[in-house]
Every structure is written in structure tokens, then in C-alpha cells.
Symmetry: C2
Subunit: 412 residues, 2 copies
């Protein structure tokens, strides 16, 4: 059965003597704990972490190889906000995909992954004691970033039985004089929900009425299924002064390990967030900026390799989503789920009485040798669910579900 | 004469409405402003930023090229604290160079440059209102990191006429019940001072007596001239529980742009700082971790390429130091200086009456077309000085001083 006490003890034995409150109060997220536990269990299959099976496309790697041989500056700092050439391509990309015009010199900076931009932006906006409205369930790192800024996450539950819709009335009710920002992720991790234009326009209106900032993570913007239209908050001109949006190369070009992403906001906000970027990173890794530049150049042109690699990625993940959902259809006595419309996660509700998300994830780990993430890591409404990623290969997904099928017979 | 008002206005026109105090209070450092101003002046030579002229050694670039072709995981996240293999080589390196035994699993993490580790460590240790004792002049980013953590930098002036020695009595006098940490850089940026074993042992004793943390930046530990012995605070066993030390691959292997460094501390501290690392970076760029691994493997072995590249680097910088000092000897009516014993900076005192460091740096920029950094950016005792880097090529250094010679005639 494995040593479950190990898991429960994480976060409890912590010695936080002399540690600042902003850090002491953060508990290590379940997303990070599960792989550590799993590393002690042999022969696991992972539906856990959000790392798809794909390699960084070879045209990107070859461009970096070329630069490593020919570019004398590749080992040196770039400008603090990133290579000018890269920022120009980013502006072009956003114009092509979102129809927005951006000043690449002032409204963008290149970060060490979208995570650095999100953490820096949150620390820039959120003062100690400020309240930040955030849907629940949500990506655990966003919660950590709010806590790090000594803000208070105010969770507004999503409406699960309406495909994880935003509870707009709930947002309105949650606003107090201490509200400072709304923190959003669209498409959503862990639910796979994609918010509609109508929902987002109403949310923007709420933000503007109460002068709230909106921190907006669009890392999965390219990854929407069923030809569903994708609406970006960046398309609302009035919101621009309050909006901070981050994008990532990690998912779109299978570049998680390169640590490169970017932030788009008004020049005034970028100026302030750059102070944090300077203190934490100086600049994004130059070698990764070259990789990002190669990726975007191949995407911004006509029928480039970049577009083909993205289309192929989306098609393959769409078929993996089908497999995961078909397999879940045979498990409805243990997991009730809503078909995800974006990203590569599904967040089924646990139908087994008296089993919490941690119980189920540990059971699956030790009895079925399948890694999943307990929903409790994703905010209060996450409890009672587990997150499954369908980024793994089709073979792995099927093998994992074969094991889950056997495990689920215990609960007939 | 150029538009000096541009410079003076930086930081004044800032619109910090709605910006959290931790960020609003940081002013953009002179180190970052000068290159921006200089980019508008044609034909400048830089003695400004700390980027030596050298390329990342080809054996490191070739190892990365090999990995880009053969390693399927190169584009993926590493473990959050860094690749296990790299941490093992780091532990080996510290054992060889410092004689300390380290648990590579628990006492090290790999960061996005030493800067990320320093910022994360400071944010982990320093609570709002805590006082942090820091020598002055000091590296401006350290001041920013303390401010970001909402701590109060308490500057303890170095003793300039004793080769920028630590004022140990001054440290004792500066301690209050709010003192939380001492922040040190050794060898020192911007003075080029190297602290003695005696000074450091006394400082450690002070820290232990008052239970202060010591945040210790040893990025230049390999770069000490005149066969001066280098003493590391990591050699004091009693201090280990309070000590956080960071190292960088940036300077030792000419890898500034790769953004990879690491932190060494007790397991308890590493555990806490990793929470910040997780929220800001997830992991250091994997491609850069491969570069760092290749660098260390070639250094930890017998007579490897890594050692040769370091020896060559130190020899070349030593000869550049001689050139800079010889040229400064002809300028003693404008600049009085102390010969640096480590790093690649010299921090001369301005001997021209009624000219502040900003005046001199702007004069040099607009009249001599030489980029320098005004001392005011390095804490209160920095005023009245400028920082010159001798990382540029010998030709550039000589050309810059030819221009400074002509400029200095104005002050005969």
C-alpha cells in the first residue's frame, strides 16, 4: 500500500523559524509532491504533470545549433526586456492571432517562462492584505503567487454543472474595498474550460467598474478543440490599462524546459514589472530567446513550419482527448467528468463515497501505479476531484486506463 | 552635450498608481539606465556593464549542440531543484574548491542565474520591516532585492583608505532588535575588494552572536589576483545553519546569457527558498543546465578544458587590470583609486571639486563617449565615485582611456 504517512507529513514537519511570512505560509503544491512520491514507486505511468510527450520541433533546435556556432553573443545577457528582434516578432504574432497592435519596445517583455512574468506581475500589483479574486478550481501556482505577494486569494467557485462556467454574480458578490485584482487562466487549468466572449466581456466590465487589475494567463490560447471560437481579454480595448496578459512558448512549441515566455501590458505596468524581472532574472536566457525567435519566425510567415507543428500538436492532443474521454465513459461509476474544451487536462469528480481527492490519488498511485494530481491542490472547489493530463502518448494513456479499470472494479 | 535632463527624469516621471510598495519604492539602477542613455550616443566604448568580452568556451557550446541532437528531454522541465547529475557535479566542485561536503539532493538548488537565487533567498528570509546590514558601496541589485522583500537596507560603509575593508565595529554598532541578516558579496562588486579570513571570521561571529542570516554572493570567487588567498564563509562550519551562499556560471565560464547559477544552504533553508523558485521559475532552463554540466565536468576532472579556460580567463583579466591601473596612474588628478584584488571592476574616487558621480558619468558619456557607471547607484558611500569595468578587450580599454585622457585635460 505504500507509505501514505509520508505524503500527509509533507508541509507539517516544516521548520519555518525565521522564515518570512510570505514564504512560510505557502505549502508545497500537490502537483510538485506527487512526482516526488511517485519516484519511489516503480513502473508508474503518469497522467500527472502537464508535460506532453512531444519534443521541441527539430527546426527550432537546428536554429539554436546554428546560433551556437555562428553567433558570438549567444552566451551574453540580452537587453533586460529581451532581444528587440524577438519582441518585434511577438508583436507581429499578437497582431496576427489577436488583431491587436502593440508597441514592441514598451508593451512587452520576455520572461523566464510565463511563470516568472505572472509572479513578477502579481508581486507588482498586489500589496499585503489586498484581495485577489480567483476562480476555483484554479492552477495552484497562481494561488502561490498571490500568497507570495501577501495577498489574500478570494476563491469564486466555477459552476461545474454548466461546463465550469464563470460565476459572474459570484465575482460581483466577492468584491470588497480591498479587492485589487482578478486572476484568470483561459483556457483553464485544471478544468479544461474555455470561457466565452460573453462571460469575459462581463468580467472585464466588472473589473473596470471596480478598477481592478486583471492578471490573465493565456498559455493555452492556441489549444481549443471542437472549432470553438477563442476570445482573448486582450481584444477589449477599454481593459488595456488594467490588463496584464502572459503567454508561453512552453506549450505551443513543446518548450517547457527552455523557460521562455512573455508579458503584454500597458507601458506603465511593464516599466514597473521590469523592476522585479531585473531583481530576479536580469534577462530571459538568450539561447531560449533564439529558440523562441526561430519558432515565431516560422509561424508568422506564410504556411511556415511553426504553424504546421502547432496544427499537428493540436490534432494529436485532440485525438488523445478523445481516447481519455472514451476511457472515462467506462468509469462513470467512479468518475463523473465534463469534456474539456481546451488545454490537455480533464478534472473528473470523484463518485466514490467517503474518498477524498488525496485518498483517490494515493490509491491510484500505490494500487494502480498511475500518477494523478489530487484536486485539493487547486483551491477549495478542487477537493472531490482529480486532475488527469492527456499529454502522454496514446499507448501510455490506454495503459494507464487499463490499470484504472482494474482498480475501479473495487468500487462496483 | 546630449540631453542630460533625460537621465535625471528617469524615476521621477514614474506613475506608480496602484503599484505595490515593494516595487514602487525601487528606482531603476544606474547600471541599467546608463546603457539605455548610451544607446542614443553613437560610437561609445563601454567600461560600464559587467560583461567581459569573452565568448562561452566552444567545448561548452559543442556539448549543448550534441545534447540538442541526441537528448530527447532537452526541451522539457527538469526536476524543480535542477538535474540530479548537475547537482552531483556542483557538490563535487564545492568539495574540490572549498573542501566542504554537501548533500546534492538537499543542500543545493539550481537557479536562473545567481540573481534568482539571491532574490528568492532574500524574499524568504526578510520580513517587511526587517533590517539587513549591507556594506556600502555594494552591488545595486542586492539593494533592490532587499527593498523588494520590504526590508530596510542598513548601510555599513566600507573603509576606503584601508583597501575597502569591512568596518566590523560599524557592523556591531548597526545591529538593532530588527536586524535579520547580513548581505555580502565577496569578491566585492563594485570595489574589487577581497575580504580576509580574519574579517570574515569576525563577521561570522557577529552574525552568530545575534542570530543573523548571512546572504553571501560568491560569483567572483575564482577571480582573485596577486595570488591572494580566497577565504569563503562556507568554510566556517558553525555558520552553516545561518548561511545562504550563491554561485554563478556567468562569470567563471562566460555564460552570463545562459541564466544558470545555484544556491547552497542547509536543507531547511533550501526547502523554503524552493517555494519561491517554484512560483517564479519552476526550474532553471534545461539547456543551460546542460551547458553548466559540461563546464563542471571539464573542471572537476584532472587537467580538464574547464580549468584551462578558467586559468586563461583569470590571466587575461589580470593583464587587463594592469592596463586599467597603469592608465589610471596618469589620471590621478581626476581619479584616485585602490587597485582591485578581485572581480573586474575598479571604483575610483572623483577628485574634481563639485562634480558628483552622475555629472562625471554623463560628462564621460557625452564628451568622451565612454560608458561608466555612476557610483551613486551602489548605495550612499558610492557617491563621489564611478565604476569602471575592465572586462572589455585590451584595445577597447586603451581606446577608452585615450578618450578619458583628453577629457581629463579640462580639469588640469
Amino acid at each position: 500500500m505504500g507509505d501514505r504517512s509520508v505524503y500527509r507529513s509533507v508541509g507539517q514537519k516544516e521548520d519555518t523559524d525565521g522564515i518570512a511570512r510570505r514564504v512560510a505560509q505557502i505549502t508545497v503544491s500537490a502537483i510538485k509532491q506527487m512526482p516526488v512520491l511517485a519516484s519511489k514507486v516503480e513502473g508508474c505511468i503518469s497522467l500527472g504533470q502537464g508535460i506532453p510527450s512531444f519534443e521541441t520541433p527539430s527546426f527550432i533546435r537546428e536554429a539554436v545549433i546554428e546560433a551556437l556556432r555562428s553567433d558570438h553573443a549567444i552566451g551574453k545577457y540580452s537587453l533586460q526586456p529581451g532581444l528587440s528582434e524577438l519582441r518585434i516578432e511577438i508583436a507581429r504574432h499578437l497582431q496576427q492571432t489577436k488583431g491587436i497592435r502593440i508597441d514592441p519596445e514598451k508593451e512587452i517583455f520576455v520572461s523566464c517562462g510565463a511563470m516568472e512574468a505572472l509572479a513578477a506581475a502579481t508581486a507588482t500589483i498586489v500589496e499585503r492584505g489586498d484581495e485577489v479574486l480567483i476562480p476555483s478550481p484554479t492552477y495552484s501556482s497562481h494561488i502561490e503567487q498571490i500568497l507570495f505577494a501577501e495577498g489574500k486569494p478570494v476563491f469564486v467557485p466555477l459552476i461545474e454543472d454548466q461546463e465550469w462556467k464563470l460565476d459572474l454574480e459570484g465575482f460581483k458578490r466577492a468584491i470588497t474595498p480591498k479587492s485589487k485584482a482578478i486572476f484568470l487562466c483561459n483556457p483553464m487549468n485544471p478544468t479544461g474550460a474555455v470561457f466565452s466572449q460573453e462571460e469575459l466581456e462581463t468580467l472585464a466590465q466588472i473589473a473596470l467598474e471596480h478598477n481592478l487589475f486583471v492578471i490573465n494567463d493565456e498559455a493555452y490560447d492556441f489549444l481549443v478543440y471542437d472549432n470553438l471560437p477563442y476570445f482573448s481579454l486582450t481584444s477589449i480595448p477599454d481593459l488595456k490599462k488594467n490588463l496584464i496578459t502572459t503567454y508561453s512558448f512552453s506549450k505551443m512549441f513543446c518548450m517547457t524546459g527552455w523557460r521562455v515566455g512573455y508579458m503584454y501590458a500597458s507601458a506603465r505596468i511593464v516599466d514597473q514589472v521590469l523592476k522585479v524581472h531585473d531583481a530576479f532574472a536580469i534577462c530571459a536566457p538568450r539561447v531560449s530567446q533564439y529558440a523562441a525567435l526561430a519558432a515565431l519566425k516560422a509561424t508568422n510567415g506564410k504556411d511556415g513550419e511553426g504553424d504546421r507543428s502547432i496544427q499537428q500538436l493540436v490534432a494529436r492532443l485532440a485525438s488523445r482527448r478523445e481516447i481519455a474521454c472514451q476511457r472515462l465513459n467506462n468509469l462513470l461509476h467512479v468518475f463523473s467528468y465534463i469534456k474539456p474544451r481546451g488545454a490537455y487536462y480533464v478534472f473528473p469528480k470523484i463518485m466514490i463515497k467517503e474518498m477524498g481527492s488525496m485518498d483517490v490519488s494515493l490509491d491510484l498511485l500505490y494500487e494502480a501505479k498511475v500518477i494523478t494530481i489530487p484536486g485539493s491542490g487547486f483551491g477549495p472547489s478542487g477537493e472531490g476531484h482529480i486532475r488527469l493530463s492527456f499529454g502522454a502518448t496514446e499507448e501510455e494513456i490506454n495503459k494507464a486506463f487499463d490499470r484504472i479499470d482494474i482498480w475501479a472494479k473495487n468500487y462496483r
